[in-house]
């Protein structure tokens, strides 16, 4: 009986130790590879956005619709600025801003997922 307990304890300790060590190594690997790859991407992205935003605002005449659904005016202004940047200087009119239901997938999408995973 003692031998059995010894084997059990030894076995669980060794298995956990080996796998915890592996966990740490993989986590480290993820950080190293992520650090090398992600650093170069991040510098490129913010730079083109800054010159684009001030250039777009004076160029495009923006007309705003009245804030609907209780969206605060500051948010409307921010959204319009974002759209202006995306339009790249072409004139546009913001007709209405509606809040989208957050966090929920459309019903068809959910139904599709359930259908595809049900055979399991």
């Amino acid at each position: 009986m003692e031998f059995a307990l010894l084997v059990t304890i030894t076995g669980m300790v060794v298995v956990f130790a080996a796998l915890i060590f592996l966990t740490l190594c993989i986590w480290l690997l993820g950080k190293i590879v992520g650090g090398i790859g992600g650093g170069s991407k991040k510098d490129a992205a913010p730079a083109p956005q800054k010159p684009a935003a001030p250039a777009a605002r004076p160029a495009a005449p923006v007309q705003q619709a009245a804030a609907s659904d209780g969206v605060p005016e500051g948010v409307v202004a921010a959204i319009s600025a974002a759209v202006a940047m995306m339009m790249g200087g072409k004139p546009f009119k913001v007709k209405s801003i509606r809040r989208q239901k957050s966090g929920r997938r459309p019903a068809w999408s959910t139904a599709g997922i359930i259908e595809n995973t049900r055979p399991f």
Partner: protein, 376 residues
């Protein structure tokens, strides 16, 4: 002349199976037919259970001498691959080619769940020792809890080859029963709130990580537990071949033709070890009972660690994925997905459960190495 003819015919009849059939052989043939029914009609892991059952049938035909132990028979030579530990690592090669370790690399904490589920192995080891098995036999019976066919056959062929037939049949039958065994345990050990946890999406895994992973795991695990090296090494070789993308034809062969050939040889020769004298004993019944306990305890340990991780991470981990640490890939992960979806239809746990599932394969290989080392 006529007398000679009669004598010859009499000689043929006397040497036929019908004249020399002990009742044990008939019973074993009946059991083989039941297993064939389960494999063909009920779909119990047919890829392995069908060859195993048919091997059992062939081995118990009297006078034909087709068991794995009958020197000179066809199956004796096929059995050498099992005896020398060649087939199980080659099956792992094919499994490595078919496995995607990305969910595990994206969330390395899954390794812990894979480790916890191996508790079933060692708990069963204690139980087997208490029931009168020798340490070597207990080790072979315990590994059924790893829910990994090739690992179980590898360990049993090294520690207790006399129990190979019973252990292999128990292992594959319970692997087929995972969707029935696991859900009640999972539901009993988790609360409604825990079951409904939706986990964050997994981060994308780069190709570099996917290529370095198998190399790293092989080196680390083989250094730590050299007895696990054949299994883990071949598993990771298969995975490296797949992820590198430069040896496509080797991958195609390994996961198709090679897997199929080895499966046939392994199944038939393992089944043919189950002759009446070895199989029809109280030990077999004890093995079947212990195998069930191994699966249940493994599931429970995985779910319990999942609960602990749920508490520690403040509700980010769904304990249901813990049961997928039992390395029946991908059945256990599908069970986690199904049970999770029962309580929250928008919950998509499959990829999250694949992490512990494949971690369990590595975990059971490590446990196998430990058992072989200690019980040698």
């Amino acid at each position: 002349m006529f007398q000679q003819f009669l004598d010859t015919v009499k000689g043929i009849i006397m040497s036929s199976g019908f004249a020399n059939c002990p009742w044990q052989n008939l019973l074993m043939i009946a059991i083989a037919c039941v297993l064939l029914y389960l494999a063909i009609v009920k779909g119990f892991e047919p890829l392995l259970l069908l060859p195993i059952a048919f091997g059992m049938l062939l081995a118990n035909i009297p006078v034909a001498n087709l068991s794995s132990h009958a020197e000179g028979s066809l199956i004796y030579y096929l059995y050498q691959g099992v005896k020398m530990g060649i087939y199980p690592p080659l099956i792992f090669l094919g499994i490595g080619c078919m496995t995607d370790f990305a969910p595990l690399i994206a969330n390395p904490k899954s390794f812990l769940l894979g480790a916890a589920a191996q508790g079933g192995i060692f708990f069963t080891f204690i139980g087997a020792t208490l029931l009168g098995f020798t340490p070597k036999q207990a080790g072979a019976i315990g590994i059924i809890g790893g829910a990994d066919g090739p690992t179980a056959i590898f360990v049993t062929s090294k520690l207790a080859p006399e129990l190979l037939g019973a252990i292999a049949i128990a292992a594959y039958s319970y692997m087929a029963l995972v969707p029935i065994i696991q859900p009640p345990i999972m539901k009993a050990l988790t609360t409604q709130k825990e079951r409904m946890v939706v986990m964050d999406t997994l981060r994308p895994v780069s190709k570099t990580e996917k290529v370095i992973f198998p190399i790293m795991v092989t080196i680390i695990v083989s250094f730590l537990v050299p007895d696990a090296a054949p299994l883990v090494g071949m598993l990771m070789l298969g995975n490296l071949m797949r992820e590198s993308g430069v040896v496509d034809r080797l991958v195609k062969t390994a996961q198709n033709e090679l897997m199929n050939i080895i499966t046939i040889f392994l199944g038939v020769s393992v089944g043919a070890t189950a002759t009446g004298d070895r199989f029809l004993s109280p030990e077999t019944l004890k093995i079947i009972a212990l195998g069930l306990i191994a699966f249940c305890v493994g599931t429970a340990c995985g779910v319990l660690l999942g609960k602990l991780m749920y508490l520690v991470t403040g509700g980010k981990i769904n304990p249901l994925i813990g049961s997928a640490g039992v390395s029946a890939v991908p059945m256990a992960a599908r069970v986690s997905q199904k049970v999770g979806q029962q309580y929250n239809p928008a919950n998509f746990l499959l990829m999250h459960a694949m992490g512990p599932n494949v971690a369990g394969v590595i975990g059971s290989a490590v446990a196998a190495g430990v058992l072989i080392n200690i019980c040698r």
